[in-house]
């Protein structure tokens, strides 16, 4: 039993970290301008490095590693606020692989095309109404539900209307689902819904850690009353709380990934618990991060607001805290 990454796993983490630190510093979102992000330009490189295929079995065209490596990768994607379009590629390739659509799978793994995400608008809309994230120039749109997951061509959606995105680093549209999926797999074929929740939990862990580090770094350099504000317990304890919550979320994300790799019947419970703990943490850490930055944290000149808004997107995707809390009470007591 060991929840820490092995040397091989750490090497993967370090490679992704180095790549994203150089190619996708969070400053890119500010520099990019008003709406959207440049992340789709990274997809071919990330594809070439094999990062979309980590958790796919090698007999299905993947790297043949486990959910643990995928979890670690998505933690880093969250840390750098990489466009959630990356879920579309990784999960989309999984759908194609398990549906036997090898050509599509390889196209997705190479990162040459974009996959948007469709998410139910829940009580805010009718049953067939969705939000489309990062789908504007996407060939495909990913839809995940408890029953399974599917890739739809973009034109399976109608009445597509561009709306202002609260997370302005993402392109958001409203749409109605009126067509059929091109490729679909059921929950019996693969635990893709649990995997989606687990990976979104890992992503939210990264967002939480990013907000934590931003607050800690700032409180080391910002001085008031003649010393760094991090020397004051009022600030120090806020930072400590961010660290405590992040650690809890990371531990649960790791546990959830390992339980999934074991094929345990507790997989849905732990994946759901991971999404709950991590999304709650991401929103709270981002909020604390704004507070630690004071008035600067309230501006668009600081990067802080991106963490808050991305945390809310992560929470809303595939069922918000409210829905996940309902779901988790329906699972049997885990071992």
């Amino acid at each position: 039993m060991d929840l820490l990454p092995s040397d091989d796993q750490q090497q993967i983490v370090d490679t992704i970290k180095d790549f994203l630190r150089n190619e996708a510093p969070v400053d890119r979102l500010r520099e990019f301008g008003a709406i959207g992000n440049p992340d789709a330009l990274l997809w071919p490189q990330l594809g070439e490095l094999g990062f979309f295929a980590l958790g796919l079995p090698d007999d299905r065209g993947g790297v043949g590693l486990s959910a643990a490596e995928e979890m670690l990768a998505f933690q880093q994607f969250g840390y750098h606020l990489v466009s959630p379009g990356i879920f579309g590629l990784v999960l989309g390739a999984r759908i194609a692989a398990f549906a036997g659509e090898d050509a599509l799978r390889d196209e997705l793994l190479a990162g040459g095309i974009k996959v948007g995400l469709a998410n139910s608008r829940g009580a805010a809309g009718a049953a067939d109404e969705y939000h489309l994230f990062e789908a504007e120039e996407a060939a495909w749109v990913l839809l995940v539900s408890e029953e399974g997951a599917a890739l739809y061509p973009r034109d399976a959606f109608s009445e597509i209307v561009r709306v202002n995105s609260t997370d302005s680093a993402l392109v958001l549209e409203r749409a109605k689902l009126s067509g059929a999926p091109r490729v679909a797999i059921s929950a019996e074929t693969d635990n893709i819904h649990d995997r989606a929740l687990m990976l979104m939990g890992a992503y939210a862990v990264g967002v939480s850690e990013g907000a934590r580090d931003l607050a800690v770094d700032y409180s080391k350099i910002r001085e008031q009353f003649g010393k760094p504000i991090g020397a004051f317990q009022s600030i120090k304890h806020v930072c400590a709380d961010m660290a405590i919550r992040s650690e809890a979320a990371l531990c649960q994300a790791s546990f959830a990934a390992l339980v999934m790799d074991e094929g345990s019947p507790d997989t849905p419970f732990h994946a759901t618990a991971s999404k709950i703990v991590a999304c709650e943490t991401a929103v709270r850490n981002a909020a604390d991060c704004i507070q630690v930055h004071g008035a600067f944290g309230f501006t668009a000149e600081a990067n802080v607001h991106h963490y808050l808004k991305r945390a809310h997107v992560a929470d809303m995707m595939w069922g918000s805290l409210r829905e996940q809390r309902r779901r988790i009470l329906t699972f049997p007591t885990p071992a």
Binding site: M1, Q233, K236, H237, A243, A248, L258, E280, R325, L329
Partner: protein, 385 residues
């Protein structure tokens, strides 16, 4: 990353489970007094006689000499078997004993270790003073050397179960001229020593629940050979083993609390109907706690994992701080679920007693504020306050 235990670990788990199922005390643990002492010692002796006391203690002192992973497994099985927590043995097993193992000389080890494991001696702690709580290093209880004895005068407070204890791990100031961290010694103190007076302190759980004592030392004499780790070296001795209190022993509590949340869900369903799940505040709080308890357990696994990799013990503060808060939330919700019944505090209702008890979880062994200082400074590298 790996969740698997080795085949030997699994065998150990099965043996532990089998032994626990056959031997666990079924009678309810008394909440206080000599009955509680007798109960705790008897259960400790039972574990010792069965060969299960001190999983990670060296074999030469009656332990099993096994690693942290086995310790974790033992505690998991212990909690699953609903074995009683013999809190009176806690200081000896998790603090005093390990300190002597780490810093004691051969005679000290020979004299004191086995009687802790075998359920003969209860140890208590003499660290805090009326004016030295979070600022422990400012302690003033004085001890001077007279021939081959230490002569101790002063007062200690918040000594849990001091009135039921045989021995005490005691921090005293042996060099008042030295800087505050440098003049302290860690001493083995016999609670039958002349010159010691105890004042019982009732706690908030119910009238007549004595949990703490205040200790008054008036020229109490202790053999100099009872100093552990060298005269004036007590601060580093105490700090090096404080981590024992923040480690694997908490997995028991976490598993118990996870079970409790399941029981709360059942009791809430029974009392309020299945519909309470949907949108009710209780449903939402229970769900969040169910998720948080899973995370707390994962954090304990991480503490054991980090210890194997030799990562800074300060990281364990993250788990301790989280668990203290979650336990309070669980007990508060348990109290809320029973509704008006919570205003009655019968001797046999643990839900009220333990609700009140959990106010200690963010105070004992370093307040959550001190924990946050440690996390801020030693984990996050923030400047000292």
């Amino acid at each position: 990353m790996d969740l698997k235990f080795t085949a030997e670990d699994q065998k150990f788990r099965e043996e532990a489970r089998e032994w626990l199922n056959a031997n666990v005390f079924k009678e309810r643990r008394p909440h206080g007094g000599d009955e509680m002492r007798e109960y705790d010692l008897a259960w400790q002796k039972c574990q010792y006689d069965g060969g299960w006391a001190g999983v990670s203690w060296p074999e030469e002192y009656g332990g099993m000499g096994l690693g942290l992973t086995r310790q974790l497994i033992w505690y998991e099985e212990y909690a699953r078997a609903n074995a009683p927590d013999n809190h009176l043995c806690f200081v000896g097993l998790n603090h005093g004993g390990p300190t002597i193992i780490a810093h004691g000389d051969a005679d000290q080890k020979k004299e004191h270790l086995r009687s802790i494991l075998s359920g003969e001696k209860i140890w208590c702690q003499g660290f805090s003073e009326p004016n030295a709580g979070s600022d422990l290093a400012s302690l003033k209880t004085r001890a001077y050397v007279d021939g081959n004895e230490l002569v101790i005068t002063g007062s200690k407070i918040w000594t849990s179960h001091g009135h039921l204890s045989d021995m005490q791990e005691l921090l005293v100031r042996t060099d008042p001229e030295a800087p505050k961290h440098k003049g302290i010694s860690w001493v083995i103190f016999d609670m039958n020593t002349p010159g010691l007076e105890l004042r019982p302190i009732e706690i908030m759980t119910a009238p007549n629940h004595t949990h703490f004592v205040q200790c008054f030392y008036d020229e109490a004499r202790v053999p100099l050979k009872n100093v552990v780790g060298g005269l004036n070296n007590g601060w580093s001795v105490a700090m090096s083993t404080l981590g024992f209190e923040r480690g694997t022993a908490q997995i028991k509590d976490q598993i118990r609390y996870a079970f409790l949340v399941e029981e709360m869900i059942a009791r809430a369903r029974e009392r309020y109907g299945a519909a309470f799940l949907d949108g009710d505040e209780f449903g939402s709080r229970l769900a969040q706690l169910r998720a948080d308890m899973a995370a707390a357990r994962a954090m304990t696994y991480m503490v054991v994992s980090r210890a194997q990799h030799d990562v800074s013990p300060a990281m364990a503060s993250l788990m301790r701080a989280m668990v203290g808060q979650v336990q309070q939330r669980v007990r508060r919700l348990a109290f809320d679920i029973i509704g008006a019944d919570g205003l009655e505090n019968p001797e046999d209702d643990d839900w009220v007693y333990f609700y009140l008890r959990t106010y200690a979880t963010t105070i004992a062994a370093g307040t959550s504020q001190i924990q946050r200082n440690i996390i801020g400074e030693r984990v996050l590298g923030l400047p000292r306050s």
